[in-house]
Subunit: 168 residues, 2 copies
DNA sequence: TCCAATGCGTGCGTCTTGCACGCATTGGAG
DNA sequence: CTCCAATGCGTGCAAGACGCACGCATTGGA
């Protein structure tokens, strides 16, 4: 019966992680903002707001991007005046990405917008259910976040059923 | 107070929708499967399993992709023997994408794997919390799915202010 | 002083995606 | 029956995002 939970979770999350969901949500979110903020650079900006001043490498590991990609987006956001690059005082090899005041303000507005959207949706829910859902969501995300950094190679976690046919 | 829920939901979902989450999950999922199945074509296959025989256009709207992209992935999956193209008997303009037996079997295995992963994670939760979380997740996804098709978002020139609308 | 290690930023190739065009089919109007 | 506007697929083309590898700068220990 718990297996049923896993299956239902897979179905729901499968839809949530679809491209349609991301594009609809984030493209509407960043529409008209400019300043180098688009659907691809928003995760960089958001991650930077969450982590504080960090290097491109660290931020890349957080959002799942290569350093080079982060650097590219950072350049665009820097040209937009939302972030600045500054050498790490403790280690000049590192270049810290830091939000400017404009950057702080804009990311705050964007997150506020998103929170408003979700709040609007959750408002029609029974208070109890909304509370439980968000709490569960937070736990789920936190566990996955921790695992994605601690866990490297499970390997034989899930066996491969008889589908290992090579046809090429 | 409810606004706090929206904010917490935004934070959690913000991480859940990150690239790192998708890549880690789906790349591990489809590793070694072959047959034209990779992290980009899996959503096509999965959506096809969910919707049944549909046209490329319909499937594209479902997953958030252009018809052309769906057609490309469909070609690859067809070469892998997982789907077939067949003209719609009711309207020969349409080309229905249909899962083969191999396709059905493989997508079933993959979804089973995913369900197993989630089940394993949820197993350590209090039964009540896991139940509530999944139920909430299903409702959340369903509402968003409906809205994304009913709502034609104008938002091309949305001002940079928090939006407030009436509940539906 | 020297050198291996670390980290950034850019050139280059690959992959994915969207737009536009050509072709085929449908259904209604004359 | 014929004609034509509408619809939908699949491909050529171009733009964009991403990863890898290289060069350069800095650090810390031998």
């Amino acid at each position: 019966m718990n297996d049923e939970l896993g299956r239902r979770c897979e179905t729901a999350l499968g839809e949530l992680l679809q491209r349609r969901m991301r594009v609809n949500l984030y493209e509407e979110l960043v529409a008209g903002v400019g300043r180098g903020v688009d659907i691809t650079s928003y995760p960089i900006l958001s991650g930077l707001a969450r982590l504080g001043p960090v290097t491109a490498g660290t931020l890349g590991a957080e959002v799942g991007l290569d350093r080079s990609g982060v650097s590219r987006h950072a350049t665009r956001l820097e040209e937009g005046g939302l972030i600045v690059r500054r050498p790490d005082p403790d280690d000049a090899r590192n270049t810290l990405l830091i939000l400017t005041d404009d950057g702080e303000r804009i990311i705050a507005v964007l997150r506020e917008r998103l929170a408003g959207m979700f709040d609007q949706q959750l408002r029609s829910w029974p208070r109890e259910q909304a509370e439980q859902f968000v709490a569960g969501l937070e736990r789920f995300v936190r566990e996955n976040h921790d695992r994605s950094f601690a866990d490297i190679a499970p390997g034989a976690d899930t066996p491969l059923t008889p589908m290992d046919q090579e046809r090429s």
